[in-house]
Each structure stands twice: as C-alpha cells, then as structure tokens.
Amino acid sequence: MGNCLKQPNADDISLLRGAENNQTDGTDSSLLGPPPPYQVSGPMYHPTPNISRPVAQLTEEEQVKIAKRIGLINQLPTGVFDGTRKAKECVICMGEFMVGDTVRYLPCMHTYHRECIDDWLMRAFTCPSCMEPVDAALLSTYNSL
C-alpha cells in the first residue's frame, strides 16, 4: 500500500470535478477543449509515471535517466506476430494480435504490441502483467549467460 498521507492527492478531486463541469485544469486537455500550446509540440516524457513533460522542461538528471531507459528498452527483443504464440490479445490496448503486428517480448515472456509496451516502459520499468521489474530480469539474464 502506498503511504497516501504523504502524497499530495488533491488532483483526484479536481480531475473528477473538472470532468463533470467541463473546466480545464491542464492535464486532460483533449477531453476538455484545445490543449495549451506547450503540449502540441514534440513528444512528452514521463520522468515518473504520473508526470508528463516535454523534453525542454526535463532536468539533466531526468534526461540521462530517460536516455538510459530508451537504451534498455531497445535491448528487449522484438518480433513480428505470426499467429503461433499463445497470446491472443495485447492486455494494454485490448486489441487482438494480428499477423504482422510488431510485438515486444519481456524477459518474463509476456508479449505486447511494441508501441503499447514501450509507452508503458518509459513510465515504469515493470511488466504490466506480472509486475516483474524488467531491469532486474535483464541483469539476471546477462549474468546467466
């Protein structure tokens, strides 16, 4: 369980009210009207899972962390779905795997669309299905080689 008392969590309320009353509060921009200009240029990064920022607003430390993360993600094997694997549906987008889809395999052998899992791995480096930390699994794979 997270220690909720130490976290600022007023956002829960404002988001819900915002959704109902159609007030913008910046985080749900597309739903609530046109996004503020800073959100339209360039990709967004997630130095921590619940934070979204464009590259220009990242600290140097965050940039290094993200660069390392991208490097690690790129070491994870990818493949093209050929219909022979057991997995039928990508649990992230809930879309069925179609022959020809690009998929990524995690060390725990869970499979996702590459686009879906890469988006998640940039936020948290764990398998969504088994919560296995991907980096620990990667390291143990290397050590056993």
Binding site: P49, I92, M94, G95, S129
Partner: protein, 156 residues
C-alpha cells in the same frame, strides 16, 4: 493523442455490460464516455453489508497508462477513505499497471471494504478509532452504512 474514444475503453465498457461483476454496476455517463457512475454493494460479512455505495470513476486522457480516478460519493466510515471520498489504494497510485481494468479496480475497492487497513490510513481519525476500539469502529461503520448507503437509493 488523437480524438475519439480508444478501442480499449469501448471494449471495457461493452464487457462491463455484457458480463457485469456481481455487486458492482458501472454505467458510462451519457455525455462523457470516460466518466462512469458506479454502485458498489457492501461486501457480505463486512460492516458495509446491506449498503450500496455510489462512486464516480474517471478515465484520464492517459488511461490505461495512468490509473482511473475513483472517488466515493456516498459517505463511508473507513480508515482508508477520507471524508472527500478519496481512496488510499496502492493500485490507484504507484502500483497501477495497464493490465488492470475498470473491473479489477472496482473489485479491489470492494475488497478494501472487506479488509480495512488502519495501519495505512487516509482518514486519520477513523484509523485511530479503528486501532483503539475496533468493535466500536465497526459499529459506527454499520450505522453510517444504514444512514448514508441504503440499498434503495434515495431520490436526489
């Protein structure tokens, strides 16, 4: 992000209606498909048994990369739910995973009603009461359930 409702949200909504979870009703709002009106029945053998609790659930733009926002609308006496209805539940915060769904989130909330955890409080006064005199806390929770969460919803 492009406009329109992601396929996943459409699928989840369809499955919630086709195979509803026992004791849980989640209906999307007519004007906002990301906003759900939720009714959760108090679990058997809990102080909330016999009550029906109203919650609101909102799927943020980033969903399923970030967790749904969920809040109790019905007043409830529970150490992990504060007076604004905010819920202290790890999967809604740092333990969120995109493999979880609306269905699993609501089941976890129902399970939290069965297993209050006063050692990880959100409502400090309630948690204190729960630790000092559990029997009395359970009694208060039962009274609040009768008063605020009647199974026949009051006209609003």
């Amino acid at each position: 992000m492009s406009g329109g409702l992601p396929r996943r949200i459409i699928k989840e909504t369809q499955r919630l209606q086709a195979e509803p979870v026992p004791g849980i009703v989640a209906i999307p709002d007519d004007s906002n498909a990301r906003y759900f009106h939720v009714d959760v029945a108090g679990p058997k053998e809990s102080p909330y048994e016999g009550g029906v609790f109203k919650l609101e659930l909102f799927l943020p733009e980033e969903y399923p990369m970030s967790a749904p926002k969920v809040r109790f609308m019905t007043k409830i006496y529970h150490p992990n739910i504060d007076k604004l209805g905010r819920i202290c539940l790890d999967i809604l915060k740092d333990k969120w995973s995109p493999a979880l769904q609306i269905r699993t989130v609501l089941l976890s909330i129902q399970a939290l009603l069965s297993a209050p955890n006063p050692d990880d409080p959100l409502a400090n006064d309630v948690a204190e009461q729960w630790k000092v005199n559990e029997a009395q806390a359970i009694e208060i929770a039962k009274q609040w359930t009768k008063r605020y969460a009647p199974s026949q919803p009051m006209p609003s």
